[in-house]
């Protein structure tokens, strides 16, 4: 009986040394300069350039610290820049969506559309960034991808192919530590994190800062890509807290002058904006 009691006390003591809440340790804290990224490569809306295009990227990189672009993958496993997976019809030809369309078909569609709609490859942007602005940044937004046909229903498999291509291009153009990837899909971010060096991964969050921060710490992501002024307000305390924990934060999309100044005042790592005109004036 005494033996059992001693065992019990030992087990009891071990359990009591545990905590119910897991707290994450502090890392080295350092102030940063907020960097500005041109959302959708700085095109679309009131810009004279098409969104997610090489022309827009070239112009934006001459103004701000980097760009953000949206990615789609073709049937030939080439990464193209586009916000949506759907492709338009042209010249009486019906196009399905990026994963069901070959590179040649996308080029034909591009030609058919004339100057109204041009599709750019990610590799073109990487080549330009590497040769002209190797110290600037690019953030790649990979949407949670929905299969547009049964032949491409392996969602995670397709997303991992995108990850492999990002890793290949980053290595080919020596852009390590200048490429960031943002996504809502944790398994995709985990794959990218575990198979790459020098690529930062950001969990996209639509307002739940607390949960996003905890998930990033648990999964060892680089930081949060946070939708600004949506759901949850974010202040300087939030920014200082995540920086103390070793995380970074991108805020998107911050467009009005008032919001830009307010966002810069809380000192996030990156701000994504469509308002390039504001930064043109500052330049």
């Amino acid at each position: 009986m005494i033996y059992r009691l001693i065992i019990t006390i030992i087990i009891f003591s071990i359990f009591q040394s545990c905590d119910k809440i897991k707290y994450y340790p502090d890392k080295d804290y350092h102030e940063v300069k907020t960097l500005i990224l041109a959302h959708k490569a700085g095109g679309g809306d009131s810009s004279r350039y098409q969104e997610n295009s090489t022309d827009a990227a070239k112009y934006s990189l001459s103004i701000v610290d980097g760009i953000e672009v949206d990615l789609q993958i073709s049937k030939d496993k080439t990464i193209w820049l586009a916000h949506n997976a759907d492709l338009s019809d042209c010249g009486g030809v019906s196009y399905d969506c990026f994963p069901e369309t070959t590179d040649n078909q996308i080029i034909n569609l591009d030609s058919c559309n004339g100057n109204t709609l041009n599709y750019s490859r990610l590799e073109e942007i990487f080549a330009f960034l590497s040769s002209s602005y190797p110290n600037k940044y690019i953030s790649l937004d990979v949407k949670t991808w929905l299969p547009c046909a049964v032949t491409s229903s392996d969602v995670l498999g397709v997303m991992n192919v995108i990850a492999d291509e990002i890793i290949r291009l980053t290595g080919k153009y020596n852009l390590q530590n200048h490429v960031m990837v943002e996504s809502e899909t944790a398994s995709f971010l985990n794959y990218l994190k575990n198979n790459s060096i020098g690529i930062e991964v950001y969990l996209t969050s639509f307002g739940d800062f607390e949960r996003a921060m905890q998930l990033c710490l648990e999964s060892k992501y680089s930081g949060i890509s946070f939708k600004y002024k949506f759901g949850e307000e974010i202040g300087i305390e939030n920014i200082q807290l995540i920086r103390r924990k070793g995380l970074k934060i991108q805020l998107w999309t911050v467009d009005s002058e008032e919001n830009i100044n307010e966002a810069i005042s809380i000192n996030p790592d990156f701000i994504q904006t469509d308002n390039l005109k504001y930064f043109e004036k500052l330049k």
């Binding site: 809440i21 897991k22 994450y24 710490l217 939030n238």
Partner: protein, 169 residues
């Protein structure tokens, strides 16, 4: 939450007052990692082979920085049957507890639910007194959280071992 605790306490006090006539009820108190310092009762049925239990708990004794309340509901059944119609004949049990707990510390307020399947061993100390040990994994799901300060970042462990020691009378 207060109403539920009030009803459970009332129910248990009522049972304690009638305890002399209800041999199928046991009462217990003890300590559990998630259950805290807890008091409750257990109702046996099916020839003492199965039981349901309920308890309420509080904890600020082990860690002064944390204060927690817990409400536990359990369904338990005996294994390794020995003799019929004798509640003390069953030494080993499988317990399935659901613990609703609230914890407050310097940084957060948490409300969570824990699902704890555990193995139980009962030691008979004397005729009306037993010692009971439970051990099993606790699967924790956060229901609500509120940040109090911006000093720390944390989250309840998704899975933790749970240990409970009870004195049953």
């Amino acid at each position: 939450m207060r109403i539920i605790i009030f009803l459970i306490v009332t129910f248990q006090l009522n049972q304690i007052s009638n305890a002399q006539n209800l041999s199928r009820f046991d009462y217990f108190f003890g300590y559990g990692f998630y259950e805290g310092l807890n008091i409750g009762s257990e109702y046996f049925f099916k020839s003492y082979k199965q039981s349901i239990s309920t308890s309420i708990g509080y904890d600020k004794f082990i860690d002064k920085k944390q204060e927690s309340f817990a409400l536990t509901i359990g369904y338990n059944f005996a294994i390794f049957r020995k003799h019929k119609n004798d509640s003390n004949a069953y030494k080993w049990h499988i317990n399935n507890n659901v613990v609703l707990w609230q914890l407050e510390d310097d940084y957060y307020i948490w409300k969570a639910i824990s699902l704890i399947p555990s193995i139980n061993r009962k030691f008979i100390l004397c005729r009306n007194l037993s010692l009971s040990f439970d051990i099993g994994p606790s699967f924790n799901i956060v229901l609500y959280n509120k940040r109090k300060t911006y000093k720390e970042v944390g989250w309840p462990y998704h899975v933790m071992p749970d240990f409970r020691i009870l004195l049953i009378f």
